[in-house]
Subunit: 140 residues, 2 copies
Amino acid sequence: MKAEEISRKLIEKGLKVTPQRIAVYEAVIQLNNHPTAESIIKNIKKTSPHIASATVYKVLDALTENGLIKRVKTEKDIMRYDAILEKHHHLYCTETDRIEDYQDEHLDRLIENYFKEKEIPDFEIEDIKLQINGKFMKNN
Amino acid sequence: MKAEEISRKLIEKGLKVTPQRIAVYEAVIQLNNHPTAESIIKNIKKTSPHIASATVYKVLDALTENGLIKRVKTEKDIMRYDAILEKHHHLYCTETDRIEDYQDEHLDRLIENYFKEKEIPDFEIEDIKLQINGKFMKNN
DNA sequence: CTATTAAAAGAGAATCATTCTCTTTAACGG
DNA sequence: CCGTTAAAGAGAATGATTCTCTTTTAATAG
Protein backbone atom coordinates (compact mmCIF):
# COMPACT_ATOMS: atom_id res chain seq x y z
CA MET A 1 0.00 0.00 0.00
CA LYS A 2 1.27 3.44 -0.86
CA ALA A 3 2.05 5.92 1.89
CA GLU A 4 -0.53 8.17 0.35
CA GLU A 5 -3.28 5.61 0.73
CA ILE A 6 -2.26 5.02 4.33
CA SER A 7 -2.42 8.76 4.98
CA ARG A 8 -5.92 8.81 3.62
CA LYS A 9 -6.98 6.00 5.92
CA LEU A 10 -5.49 7.71 8.94
CA ILE A 11 -7.23 10.95 8.08
CA GLU A 12 -10.52 9.09 7.60
CA LYS A 13 -10.24 7.89 11.17
CA GLY A 14 -9.30 11.31 12.46
CA LEU A 15 -5.76 10.27 13.27
CA LYS A 16 -2.82 12.55 12.73
CA VAL A 17 -0.57 11.46 9.93
CA THR A 18 2.95 10.88 11.17
CA PRO A 19 5.93 9.16 9.57
CA GLN A 20 5.94 6.66 12.45
CA ARG A 21 2.33 5.68 11.89
CA ILE A 22 2.93 5.22 8.20
CA ALA A 23 6.03 3.14 8.87
CA VAL A 24 4.24 0.88 11.35
CA TYR A 25 1.23 0.39 9.11
CA GLU A 26 3.48 -0.41 6.14
CA ALA A 27 5.41 -2.90 8.22
CA VAL A 28 2.29 -4.76 9.37
CA ILE A 29 1.14 -5.04 5.77
CA GLN A 30 4.52 -6.09 4.50
CA LEU A 31 5.19 -8.64 7.25
CA ASN A 32 1.95 -10.30 6.41
CA ASN A 33 2.28 -13.33 8.60
CA HIS A 34 0.92 -12.11 11.90
CA PRO A 35 4.03 -10.32 13.01
CA THR A 36 4.69 -9.79 16.67
CA ALA A 37 5.33 -6.29 17.95
CA GLU A 38 8.92 -7.37 18.27
CA SER A 39 9.33 -8.25 14.61
CA ILE A 40 7.54 -5.07 13.57
CA ILE A 41 9.96 -3.07 15.68
CA LYS A 42 12.93 -4.88 14.20
CA ASN A 43 11.67 -4.33 10.68
CA ILE A 44 11.07 -0.64 11.18
CA LYS A 45 14.37 -0.01 12.86
CA LYS A 46 16.13 -1.05 9.66
CA THR A 47 14.85 2.05 7.93
CA SER A 48 14.09 4.28 10.92
CA PRO A 49 16.65 3.38 13.56
CA HIS A 50 15.54 6.09 15.94
CA ILE A 51 11.94 5.10 16.50
CA ALA A 52 11.16 4.26 20.12
CA SER A 53 9.74 0.82 20.86
CA ALA A 54 7.03 2.40 22.97
CA THR A 55 5.99 4.43 19.96
CA VAL A 56 5.48 1.30 17.91
CA TYR A 57 3.30 -0.12 20.66
CA LYS A 58 1.32 3.09 20.84
CA VAL A 59 0.84 3.21 17.08
CA LEU A 60 -0.26 -0.43 17.03
CA ASP A 61 -2.80 0.37 19.74
CA ALA A 62 -4.07 3.38 17.83
CA LEU A 63 -4.40 1.42 14.58
CA THR A 64 -6.16 -1.41 16.37
CA GLU A 65 -8.57 0.88 18.18
CA ASN A 66 -9.50 2.45 14.89
CA GLY A 67 -10.00 -0.84 13.12
CA LEU A 68 -7.16 -0.41 10.65
CA ILE A 69 -5.45 -3.55 11.87
CA LYS A 70 -6.48 -6.40 14.12
CA ARG A 71 -4.89 -7.93 17.10
CA VAL A 72 -4.43 -11.66 16.83
CA LYS A 73 -4.14 -13.13 20.23
CA THR A 74 -2.02 -16.20 20.47
CA GLU A 75 -0.87 -19.01 22.53
CA LYS A 76 1.83 -18.44 25.05
CA ASP A 77 0.16 -16.16 27.39
CA ILE A 78 -0.55 -15.85 31.00
CA MET A 79 -1.19 -19.52 31.13
CA ARG A 80 -4.11 -21.03 32.86
CA TYR A 81 -4.35 -24.55 34.13
CA ASP A 82 -7.09 -27.08 34.07
CA ALA A 83 -7.60 -30.35 35.85
CA ILE A 84 -10.28 -31.41 33.37
CA LEU A 85 -8.58 -33.38 30.67
CA GLU A 86 -11.45 -34.20 28.34
CA LYS A 87 -11.67 -32.46 24.99
CA HIS A 88 -13.56 -29.25 25.35
CA HIS A 89 -14.03 -25.86 23.82
CA HIS A 90 -14.08 -22.51 25.52
CA LEU A 91 -16.77 -19.96 26.08
CA TYR A 92 -14.98 -16.71 26.38
CA CYS A 93 -16.68 -13.65 27.82
CA THR A 94 -15.62 -10.57 25.93
CA GLU A 95 -16.66 -8.35 28.83
CA THR A 96 -15.15 -10.05 31.82
CA ASP A 97 -12.48 -12.45 30.45
CA ARG A 98 -14.30 -15.30 32.16
CA ILE A 99 -13.68 -18.66 30.53
CA GLU A 100 -15.98 -21.64 30.81
CA ASP A 101 -15.60 -25.05 29.33
CA TYR A 102 -18.02 -26.19 26.71
CA GLN A 103 -18.33 -29.79 25.67
CA ASP A 104 -20.38 -30.83 22.68
CA GLU A 105 -19.69 -34.16 21.11
CA HIS A 106 -22.30 -33.67 18.44
CA LEU A 107 -20.59 -30.51 17.28
CA ASP A 108 -17.22 -32.24 17.39
CA ARG A 109 -18.52 -34.97 15.15
CA LEU A 110 -20.02 -32.45 12.76
CA ILE A 111 -16.71 -30.64 12.35
CA GLU A 112 -14.73 -33.84 12.18
CA ASN A 113 -16.91 -35.13 9.36
CA TYR A 114 -16.62 -31.84 7.55
CA PHE A 115 -12.85 -32.11 7.52
CA LYS A 116 -12.97 -35.72 6.41
CA GLU A 117 -14.38 -34.51 3.12
CA LYS A 118 -12.61 -31.22 2.81
CA GLU A 119 -8.91 -31.26 3.49
CA ILE A 120 -6.74 -28.24 4.07
CA PRO A 121 -3.84 -28.19 1.60
CA ASP A 122 -0.45 -28.88 3.11
CA PHE A 123 -1.82 -29.09 6.61
CA GLU A 124 -2.36 -32.09 8.81
CA ILE A 125 -5.01 -31.45 11.43
CA GLU A 126 -4.33 -32.73 14.90
CA ASP A 127 -7.10 -31.11 16.81
CA ILE A 128 -9.63 -28.31 16.54
CA LYS A 129 -10.65 -25.99 19.31
CA LEU A 130 -13.50 -23.55 19.18
CA GLN A 131 -13.29 -20.30 20.94
CA ILE A 132 -16.82 -19.11 21.30
CA ASN A 133 -16.80 -15.42 22.12
CA GLY A 134 -19.80 -13.72 23.62
CA LYS A 135 -21.44 -12.75 26.84
CA PHE A 136 -22.70 -14.66 29.83
CA MET A 137 -26.26 -13.65 30.68
CA LYS A 138 -26.07 -14.25 34.43
CA ASN A 139 -23.22 -13.70 36.82
CA ASN A 140 -23.06 -17.15 38.31
CA MET B 1 -9.49 -35.45 45.64
CA LYS B 2 -7.78 -36.91 48.67
CA ALA B 3 -4.07 -36.38 49.16
CA GLU B 4 -3.70 -40.12 49.07
CA GLU B 5 -5.19 -40.39 45.62
CA ILE B 6 -2.94 -37.59 44.40
CA SER B 7 0.07 -39.42 45.80
CA ARG B 8 -0.94 -42.49 43.88
CA LYS B 9 -1.17 -40.51 40.65
CA LEU B 10 2.22 -38.96 41.19
CA ILE B 11 3.79 -42.33 41.87
CA GLU B 12 2.12 -43.76 38.78
CA LYS B 13 3.93 -41.15 36.72
CA GLY B 14 7.22 -41.75 38.47
CA LEU B 15 7.13 -38.39 40.23
CA LYS B 16 8.32 -37.93 43.75
CA VAL B 17 5.54 -37.20 46.18
CA THR B 18 6.11 -33.90 47.94
CA PRO B 19 3.79 -31.75 50.03
CA GLN B 20 4.22 -28.95 47.50
CA ARG B 21 3.11 -31.12 44.61
CA ILE B 22 0.08 -32.28 46.52
CA ALA B 23 -0.80 -28.72 47.48
CA VAL B 24 -0.52 -27.46 43.90
CA TYR B 25 -2.54 -30.33 42.51
CA GLU B 26 -5.24 -29.83 45.12
CA ALA B 27 -5.37 -26.13 44.38
CA VAL B 28 -5.83 -26.65 40.63
CA ILE B 29 -8.67 -29.05 41.30
CA GLN B 30 -10.29 -26.82 43.87
CA LEU B 31 -10.00 -23.61 41.84
CA ASN B 32 -11.78 -25.29 39.02
CA ASN B 33 -12.21 -22.33 36.73
CA HIS B 34 -8.97 -22.23 34.83
CA PRO B 35 -6.89 -20.61 37.52
CA THR B 36 -3.83 -18.65 36.57
CA ALA B 37 -0.52 -19.51 38.15
CA GLU B 38 -0.95 -16.33 40.13
CA SER B 39 -4.24 -17.40 41.70
CA ILE B 40 -2.89 -20.86 42.39
CA ILE B 41 0.06 -19.30 44.17
CA LYS B 42 -2.21 -17.03 46.18
CA ASN B 43 -4.45 -19.93 47.15
CA ILE B 44 -1.59 -22.12 48.27
CA LYS B 45 0.11 -19.39 50.25
CA LYS B 46 -2.92 -19.23 52.51
CA THR B 47 -2.11 -22.66 53.88
CA SER B 48 1.59 -22.92 53.03
CA PRO B 49 2.96 -19.39 53.27
CA HIS B 50 6.53 -20.43 52.65
CA ILE B 51 6.21 -22.03 49.25
CA ALA B 52 8.31 -20.30 46.59
CA SER B 53 6.51 -19.03 43.51
CA ALA B 54 9.10 -20.67 41.31
CA THR B 55 8.25 -23.98 42.95
CA VAL B 56 4.61 -23.61 41.98
CA TYR B 57 5.65 -22.94 38.40
CA LYS B 58 7.93 -25.95 38.44
CA VAL B 59 5.23 -28.18 39.89
CA LEU B 60 2.72 -26.97 37.30
CA ASP B 61 5.22 -27.77 34.57
CA ALA B 62 5.85 -31.22 35.99
CA LEU B 63 2.13 -31.99 36.29
CA THR B 64 1.51 -30.72 32.77
CA GLU B 65 4.36 -32.71 31.28
CA ASN B 66 2.97 -35.83 32.88
CA GLY B 67 -0.58 -35.25 31.73
CA LEU B 68 -2.05 -34.77 35.17
CA ILE B 69 -3.26 -31.29 34.34
CA LYS B 70 -3.55 -29.31 31.15
CA ARG B 71 -2.39 -25.93 30.19
CA VAL B 72 -5.16 -23.75 28.85
CA LYS B 73 -3.71 -21.06 26.73
CA THR B 74 -5.61 -17.85 26.68
CA GLU B 75 -6.03 -14.60 25.03
CA LYS B 76 -3.81 -11.77 26.08
CA ASP B 77 -0.51 -12.97 25.01
CA ILE B 78 2.43 -11.84 23.08
CA MET B 79 0.09 -10.15 20.69
CA ARG B 80 0.34 -10.47 17.01
CA TYR B 81 -1.09 -8.09 14.50
CA ASP B 82 -2.92 -8.61 11.28
CA ALA B 83 -3.78 -6.26 8.47
CA ILE B 84 -6.39 -8.70 7.13
CA LEU B 85 -9.69 -7.75 8.63
CA GLU B 86 -12.04 -10.34 7.18
CA LYS B 87 -13.37 -13.11 9.40
CA HIS B 88 -10.97 -15.97 9.41
CA HIS B 89 -9.78 -18.86 11.47
CA HIS B 90 -6.26 -19.85 12.29
CA LEU B 91 -4.12 -22.78 11.39
CA TYR B 92 -1.65 -23.12 14.17
CA CYS B 93 1.47 -25.20 13.77
CA THR B 94 2.20 -27.05 16.97
CA GLU B 95 5.82 -27.51 15.95
CA THR B 96 6.86 -24.08 14.80
CA ASP B 97 4.23 -21.67 16.19
CA ARG B 98 3.52 -20.55 12.64
CA ILE B 99 0.04 -19.15 12.18
CA GLU B 100 -1.79 -19.01 8.88
CA ASP B 101 -5.21 -17.67 8.14
CA TYR B 102 -7.92 -20.02 7.05
CA GLN B 103 -11.14 -18.82 5.52
CA ASP B 104 -14.04 -21.16 4.90
CA GLU B 105 -17.47 -19.69 4.48
CA HIS B 106 -19.07 -23.07 4.08
CA LEU B 107 -17.76 -24.15 7.45
CA ASP B 108 -18.85 -20.87 8.99
CA ARG B 109 -22.36 -21.43 7.74
CA LEU B 110 -22.38 -25.00 9.02
CA ILE B 111 -21.44 -23.90 12.52
CA GLU B 112 -23.76 -20.93 12.43
CA ASN B 113 -26.69 -23.15 11.54
CA TYR B 114 -25.76 -25.59 14.24
CA PHE B 115 -25.97 -22.89 16.88
CA LYS B 116 -29.25 -21.63 15.52
CA GLU B 117 -30.80 -24.88 16.62
CA LYS B 118 -28.78 -25.57 19.70
CA GLU B 119 -28.34 -22.68 22.06
CA ILE B 120 -25.84 -22.52 24.86
CA PRO B 121 -27.60 -21.82 28.16
CA ASP B 122 -26.97 -18.36 29.59
CA PHE B 123 -24.58 -17.43 26.84
CA GLU B 124 -25.03 -15.09 23.93
CA ILE B 125 -22.68 -15.92 21.08
CA GLU B 126 -21.03 -13.05 19.31
CA ASP B 127 -18.53 -14.84 17.20
CA ILE B 128 -16.80 -18.18 16.87
CA LYS B 129 -13.19 -18.73 15.99
CA LEU B 130 -11.60 -22.03 15.20
CA GLN B 131 -8.09 -22.74 16.16
CA ILE B 132 -7.01 -25.63 14.00
CA ASN B 133 -3.91 -27.17 15.48
CA GLY B 134 -1.64 -29.37 13.45
CA LYS B 135 1.38 -29.43 11.23
CA PHE B 136 2.27 -27.81 7.96
CA MET B 137 3.56 -30.38 5.48
CA LYS B 138 5.91 -28.10 3.56
CA ASN B 139 8.05 -25.28 4.77
CA ASN B 140 6.80 -22.60 2.46
C1' DC C 1 16.61 -47.13 61.06
C1' DT C 2 20.21 -44.58 58.82
C1' DA C 3 23.02 -43.14 54.95
C1' DT C 4 23.12 -41.99 50.13
C1' DT C 5 21.95 -39.40 46.25
C1' DA C 6 19.24 -37.59 42.85
C1' DA C 7 15.39 -34.87 42.52
C1' DA C 8 12.90 -31.12 44.24
C1' DA C 9 12.31 -26.84 46.83
C1' DG C 10 13.82 -22.30 48.10
C1' DA C 11 15.45 -17.56 47.24
C1' DG C 12 16.13 -14.03 44.69
C1' DA C 13 18.13 -12.21 40.47
C1' DA C 14 17.29 -12.03 35.56
C1' DT C 15 14.46 -11.73 31.54
C1' DC C 16 11.46 -9.89 28.32
C1' DA C 17 7.28 -8.06 26.43
C1' DT C 18 4.69 -4.35 27.45
C1' DT C 19 3.23 -0.10 29.84
C1' DC C 20 4.02 4.17 32.25
C1' DT C 21 5.75 8.74 33.18
C1' DC C 22 7.56 12.63 31.91
C1' DT C 23 9.65 15.65 28.46
C1' DT C 24 10.22 17.14 23.85
C1' DT C 25 8.68 17.45 19.17
C1' DA C 26 5.76 18.16 15.37
C1' DA C 27 1.06 17.88 12.86
C1' DC C 28 -2.36 20.76 11.34
C1' DG C 29 -6.27 24.16 11.76
C1' DG C 30 -6.54 28.91 11.78
C1' DC D 1 3.68 30.94 10.20
C1' DC D 2 1.83 30.10 15.15
C1' DG D 3 -0.32 27.95 18.89
C1' DT D 4 -2.51 24.00 20.55
C1' DT D 5 -2.56 19.48 21.47
C1' DA D 6 -1.70 14.97 20.11
C1' DA D 7 2.13 12.13 19.28
C1' DA D 8 6.95 10.67 19.75
C1' DG D 9 10.99 9.82 22.49
C1' DA D 10 13.61 7.89 26.40
C1' DG D 11 14.13 5.18 29.85
C1' DA D 12 12.26 3.45 34.17
C1' DA D 13 8.73 0.39 35.94
C1' DT D 14 5.92 -3.64 35.87
C1' DG D 15 4.72 -8.27 36.25
C1' DA D 16 4.59 -12.94 34.83
C1' DT D 17 7.78 -16.35 34.18
C1' DT D 18 12.40 -18.46 34.08
C1' DC D 19 17.10 -19.12 35.61
C1' DT D 20 20.88 -20.02 38.69
C1' DC D 21 22.62 -21.55 42.54
C1' DT D 22 22.14 -23.47 47.21
C1' DT D 23 19.79 -26.20 50.53
C1' DT D 24 16.56 -29.65 51.71
C1' DT D 25 14.16 -33.88 51.36
C1' DA D 26 11.96 -38.11 49.30
C1' DA D 27 12.98 -42.53 47.94
C1' DT D 28 16.03 -46.44 48.11
C1' DA D 29 19.41 -49.61 49.64
C1' DG D 30 22.03 -51.42 53.10
